[in-house]
Amino acid sequence: MSKVPAELRYLKSHEWARLESDGTVTVGISDHAQQALGDLVFVEVPEPGRRVMAGEACAVVESVKAASDIYSPVSGEIVAGNAELGGQPELINRDPYGGGWIMRVRPEDKSQFAALLDAKAYEAALAAETH
């Protein structure tokens, strides 16, 4: 069973989001997503300063099997990309909710974050996917 930390919010497309104390939202992919993709070999993180819409593809994670888009959970400005992933994409496999974070977004509208799936709803979505 993959880990779904209770304090995070999720997208059906398997991104997680965490509201930080400075108001930014950190984004990564869930434990389930990294397991499904297998060993990651490359991560393309967005350039800081880029403006994104909620649901917009703004990063790419690539495994030996597939290259998948990462969607921003909220509209706003990219304030950081995880540069560590350039040399160590496997951080996502090892620590998807910690060192494997992908980007930070400064949201325009806080209500978008509140509307994301909570852990329970994401677990239900995962269950629905596998059955």
Partner: protein, 457 residues
């Protein structure tokens, strides 16, 4: 006999199973007016004997003309060994196999090709080839849009002295993908791109600059200056090169202080016959930092579970069969057979052999230009160094002159008038290593007579 495995009984059974009366009904959803209708205008098939006869007659009508036309496709000597090897059963397929790793020989050949192209262009990674030089330029521009992440504009600067066919194909392929190609003028005296023509783009968001070396006129560009200026302005640089010329010219990987970002071009000069314009092959190389944005297949060398070397398709995750509409390109095949010819050509000639071919081309073209510009009414258009082509200006329209030369068995060059009206009666000529001094004399004599006759009429 049609190559369809189903018998009429099979077909009836399948139709009955899905409850459709006939095959025609399967196409019901296509509106009437969009249907091609009957194929009445297509003649019935010919037998092998008939088609062989027809093609021989047509080939005889072409005759064996003395050729002085280049303009993107070049008549080089092709050692007989090349096509003897290419047509061996082990190589004789136009495709990378679908179960690619089962064909280690094909993959090794492509890997050798890639190694040769990276070495020739001074870059770090090569793909397994593209359709031709023109589509390679279009793919390179689209790649630059993906790779230049600081640029948002998808504006690409394209010199007017880039092969006009490449410009047309770039517009056809990339024009509907939000890419805008802006044309840079050439210098009227040198036929080259000047540094000053980039001035007005300073401070603007431009994605990439295309530099063709030698350019369509055969003129050599100031590649170092142009590359550095473009990089300083945040553009990527795309080099479009003739592979033969790279044996004697600086490889694009060393242009300017950093080298270019993408190199592409037409592979035909490497052992592929002119053959009425195709099939040819395009090539593309790049730096490692952009390799994930490069379209097409890439063969890598690896080891198997027992540690033995082996070849495999690599970086496939961005390709069409995995990424669908988000693939880096919808070109996912390569020109396997022609790449085989190109690889054998380069292996047979070696670096020194290729340099001798290039040097002979430069020498023959200089002889040709000297012989033709001695004729009254013929002058060289540009004063810059060139590779193996040159623009001549005549004092009368080029079309009728070329027709009169053709009647004497000479293909006299490429009429630039339709693409470059500002150059007046301009003719692009080329002499490769296959033209002898006697050939050049024959052409000069014929052109003199044709112009005399036209002046007297």
């Amino acid at each position: 006999m049609p190559f369809i495995p189903h018998t009429p009984d099979d077909v009836r059974e399948m139709l009955a199973t899905i409850g459709v009366p006939d095959i025609e009904t399967l196409f019901d959803e296509i509106p009437r007016e969009l249907r091609a209708g009957s194929l009445e205008s297509i003649p019935a098939g010919l037998t092998e004997m008939e088609i062989g006869r027809l093609m021989q007659e047509r080939a005889a009508r072409d005759g064996r003309r003395l050729n002085f036309i280049g303009a993107g496709a070049y008549e080089h000597h092709i050692p007989a060994a090349i096509w003897a090897i290419v047509t061996r059963g082990e190589f004789y397929s136009a495709y990378t196999p679908y179960q690619a790793e089962a064909s280690q020989g094909t993959l090794q050949l492509v890997y050798e090709f890639q190694s040769m192209m990276t070495s020739l262009t001074g870059m770090q990674a090569s793909n397994a080839s593209l359709y031709d030089g023109a589509s390679a330029v279009a793919e390179a521009c689209l790649m630059a849009v993906r790779a230049n992440r600081r640029s948002k504009s998808a504006r690409v600067l394209v010199p007017a002295s880039l092969n006009p066919t490449y410009r047309a194909v770039l517009t056809a392929i990339a024009g509907n993908q939000n890419l805008s190609a802006e044309i840079l003028p050439y210098d009227a005296r040198g036929g080259h791109l000047t540094a000053a023509s980039l001035d007005k783009y300073q401070g603007e968001d431009v994605t990439a600059l295309v530099i063709q070396q030698p350019n369509f006129f055969g003129t050599l560009e100031d590649v170092d200056v142009l590359t550095d200026l473009a990089h300083a302005a945040g553009m990527l640089v795309i080099a479009v090169v003739n592979p033969t010329s790279l044996a004697v010219l600086k490889p694009p990987g060393e242009w300017g202080s950093k080298g270019v970002d993408i190199v592409c071009g037409e592979g035909q000069p490497l052992g592929v016959p002119l053959s009425s314009g195709g099939p040819y092959f395009g090539f593309m190389t790049t730096r490692m930092e952009h390799v994930r944005q490069m379209p097409g297949r890439i063969v890598g060398r690896t080891v198997d579970l027992d540690g033995r070397p082996g070849y495999t398709l690599t970086l496939q995750a961005r390709e069409q069969h995995i990424r669908r509409s988000k693939a880096t390109s919808n070109i996912c095949t390569n020109q396997g057979l022609l790449v085989t010819a190109g690889t054998i050509y380069l292996a047979l000639l070696g670096a020194r052999g290729l340099a001798r071919v290039a040097a002979a081309c430069i020498e023959r073209t200089s002889q040709l230009v000297a012989a033709l510009t001695r004729i009254p009414g013929v002058r060289g258009a540009f004063d810059r160094p060139r590779f193996h082509e040159a623009v001549l200006q005549l004092d009368r329209p080029v079309g009728p002159v070329l027709e009169a030369l053709a009647a004497r068995g000479i293909v006299g060059g490429y009429d630039l008038t339709p693409h470059y009206p500002a150059l007046g009666a301009a003719l692009l000529v080329c002499a490769t290593e296959t033209r002898t001094t006697a050939d050049i004399d024959t052409y000069a004599r014929a052109l003199g007579e044709v112009l005399d006759k036209a002046a007297a009429a």
